[in-house]
Amino acid sequence: MKELVCITCPRGCRLKVDEKMNVTGNFCPRGKIYAVNELTHPVRVVTSTVKLTGSIYPRVSVKTKDPIPKDKIFNVMDEINKVTLKCPVHIGDIAIKNVLGLGVDIVVTKNINK
C-alpha cells in the first residue's frame, strides 16, 4: 500500500494505491491517472520564463505544453535558459519545438506587445 497526495489540482486528495494499482481516496478520475503515473513514470509540467528582446519586459513566461518526465526537469530548464524570443509574443507561440526529443513543446503563456 502506497500513500500519495494528488497534485493534479489544489484540492490535494490523499490517495491510497494497493499492489494491484487500485486507487482509492480520489475525488475525480484524474486522481487515478496521477497515482498510476506517479508510481510508474512520474511527470510534471515545468513553468519558467525565457529572455525577451525588444520589449519593456525582459522576460516572458513559458510552460511545457504537456507534462514531462520528472527526472528531465533540470535538463529541460537548461534548454529553456538558452532561448531568447523577440517581442511581440503570444500565448501558444512555440519557444522550443519538441524539447530534448521528449515530444513536448515549450510554449509561451503570456501576450506581450510592447
Binding site: R14, S48, K70
Partner: protein, 419 residues
C-alpha cells in the same frame, strides 16, 4: 478617456475586478470603468507563472498569465472601459472617486463601486522578525516579481520562513533557476500551504520543511545578510533554548501571510473587520450603501478561482442595488465566529434576506471528525459533519432562506469535535 459619471467603477483590475466587471456587463450594466494602477490588467497573476489556475473557472489547468488573459480578453470583447497607470487617491462616502494619472486628475461620480484592490504581504516588521535588517530579507512575492517579470535571481543560498503557498512555489522556482533552497521553517505544527505544493515544490526537490520552527536570529551586522538561526518552538510558540540551527545564506524569503489592501476603504469610513477587510452583509455591501468589496481585499482566498467566483456573485448584488431592489435601512443579524473558527463571511445577514446564503470560513487549527454548528445565540439550528478541515482551506456552507428564518438573535458559527 475618463467620463464624469459611471454606473459602476471597479477599483483594481486584477482577477476580482475583471471578473466582477465582466459579470456586471453581462447583467446589463452599461457604464462601467475599471481603474488599474499598473500598466497592465491582471494584477498579481502576471507574476504567477506556475500552473494550477482555472480548474473550476475554465475547467482546464492554466498558468497565472493565461488565466488573466482569458479575463482581459473578455474585458476587451465586452468593450468594458478600463484605464491603466491610474491611481485612485480617495474614495468618498458619497461614492465620489478621486483618481490621477500622467494626463491629470479626475473626479468621478459612481452610482456603485466595487473595491477589488487585492492584498499585500506581511513583512519583517509585521512579524517582529528578530535580529538585523540587512538587504537580502525579502518577501516571497517580491522575489517572484524580480525573478518572473524582471529576470533577477534574488540569491544563491536561500532560506524560507513560512510555508504559505507563495513561499513553496518560490522554493521550487528558485531551485529550478539554480539557487540552493536550504529549507522552509513553519511556526505552526502543520503546513499552511496546499498539500500539492508540499509535494511538488518541496518533496520533489528534497527541500526540508521544519514544522514548529521559526527564525530566531538574522545575522546582517554590516547591512548584508550572512546567515540566520532557526529554533524550535513549543505549543505556545515560545522558542525552545538549545534547539538552534545556523544556516549561511544570502537570502531570507518571507512567506508569512497576506493582509487585505484596504486603506482606501478605511479612509472612506468603511467599517473594517479584524482581518482588515471590509465588514460586509450577505450582498457583499460594505457599511457604505453602494460600495461593494470582493476578492483578496475582502479576505485572502486560497485560489484565484474562488476570487472570480466571489466577484461574479457580487456583480449580481450590484445589479440589484442599481435596480433599486435593496433597502439600505435593513436590520441585521450579526454573524459571529465562535469556538475554533477564525472568521466567517458575510459578517451580517439582513433580516429582510430572502435568499440562500453561503457562509465562508476558516478554522483556527486543523481538526478531524468534526461538526460545523450554526447557532442562534445558544440554540442549535444546523449541524454539518466534516471529516477534516484545515486553516489553509476555506470552507463554504450554504444555509437556505428557510433555515435562515430560524435565526432571531445572531448567527453563531463554531466547530466541535464529533463525540
Amino acid at each position: 478617456m475618463i467620463k464624469k459619471n459611471y454606473d459602476l467603477v471597479v477599483i483594481g483590475g486584477g482577477s476580482a475586478g475583471m471578473a466582477g466587471a465582466i459579470e456586471a456587463r453581462k447583467l446589463g450594466i452599461q457604464d462601467i470603468l475599471i481603474i488599474e494602477k499598473n500598466d497592465y490588467l491582471g494584477g498579481i497573476l502576471n507574476q504567477c507563472v506556475h500552473n494550477g489556475f482555472g480548474l473550476t473557472e475554465f475547467k482546464e489547468e492554466l498558468t497565472g498569465p493565461e488565466f488573466m488573459t482569458r479575463l482581459s480578453d473578455q474585458v476587451k470583447e465586452l468593450k468594458i472601459d478600463y484605464v491603466l497607470n491610474t491611481t485612485v487617491t480617495s474614495l468618498l462616502p458619497d461614492k465620489t472617486i478621486y483618481a490621477s494619472n500622467q494626463e491629470g486628475f479626475y473626479i468621478i461620480k459612481a452610482k456603485s463601486v466595487l473595491v477589488t484592490t487585492g492584498c499585500y504581504e506581511r513583512n519583517a516588521g509585521a512579524i517582529m522578525l528578530p535580529g538585523d535588517r540587512p538587504s537580502g530579507v525579502v518577501t516571497a512575492g517580491t522575489a517572484q516579481l524580480y525573478l518572473n517579470i524582471y529576470g533577477y535571481l534574488v540569491g544563491k543560498r536561500v532560506f524560507i520562513l513560512g510555508s504559505g503557498d507563495i513561499g513553496l512555489i518560490m522554493a521550487r522556482r528558485l531551485t529550478l533557476e539554480g539557487a540552493k533552497v536550504l529549507g522552509v521553517a513553519e511556526l505552526c505544527p502543520y503546513s499552511n500551504g496546499l498539500n500539492r505544493n508540499i509535494v511538488q515544490c518541496l518533496e520533489d526537490f528534497h527541500i526540508p520543511l521544519y514544522l514548529s520552527h521559526t527564525v530566531s536570529d538574522v545575522d546582517g551586522y554590516d547591512g548584508i545578510l550572512h546567515g540566520i538561526t532557526i529554533s524550535q518552538v513549543d505549543e505556545h510558540n515560545q522558542i525552545i533554548p538549545g534547539t538552534e540551527k545556523k544556516y549561511e545564506c544570502d537570502t531570507l524569503l518571507l512567506s508569512v501571510g497576506l493582509i487585505p489592501n484596504s486603506p482606501l476603504l478605511r479612509d472612506a469610513g468603511v467599517k473594517l473587520s479584524r482581518n482588515k477587510g471590509a465588514i460586509v452583509n450577505e450582498r457583499y455591501e460594505t457599511s457604505i450603501p453602494g460600495v461593494f468589496s470582493a476578492g483578496n481585499v475582502l479576505h485572502v482566498h486560497d485560489l484565484v478561482d474562488l476570487v472570480t467566483k466571489e466577484s461574479r456573485l457580487v456583480a449580481h448584488f450590484i445589479k440589484e442595488y442599481l435596480d433599486g431592489k435593496e433597502s439600505a435601512q435593513d436590520k441585521y443579524l450579526d454573524v459571529i465566529a465562535s469556538d475554533g473558527v477564525g472568521y466567517v463571511l458575510p459578517h451580517k445577514v439582513s433580516l429582510n434576506n430572502t435568499h440562500d446564503v453561503t457562509f465562508k470560513f476558516r478554522v483556527r487549527k486543523p481538526i478531524k471528525d468534526l461538526n460545523v454548528i450554526f447557532l442562534d445565540k445558544d440554540s442549535e439550528i444546523k449541524k454539518i459533519f466534516k471529516p477534516v478541515l484545515i486553516p489553509s482551506e476555506m470552507t463554504e456552507i450554504t444555509l437556505t432562506s428557510e433555515e435562515l428564518k430560524k435565526f432571531k438573535n445572531n448567527i453563531t458559527v463554531k466547530v466541535e469535535k464529533k463525540i
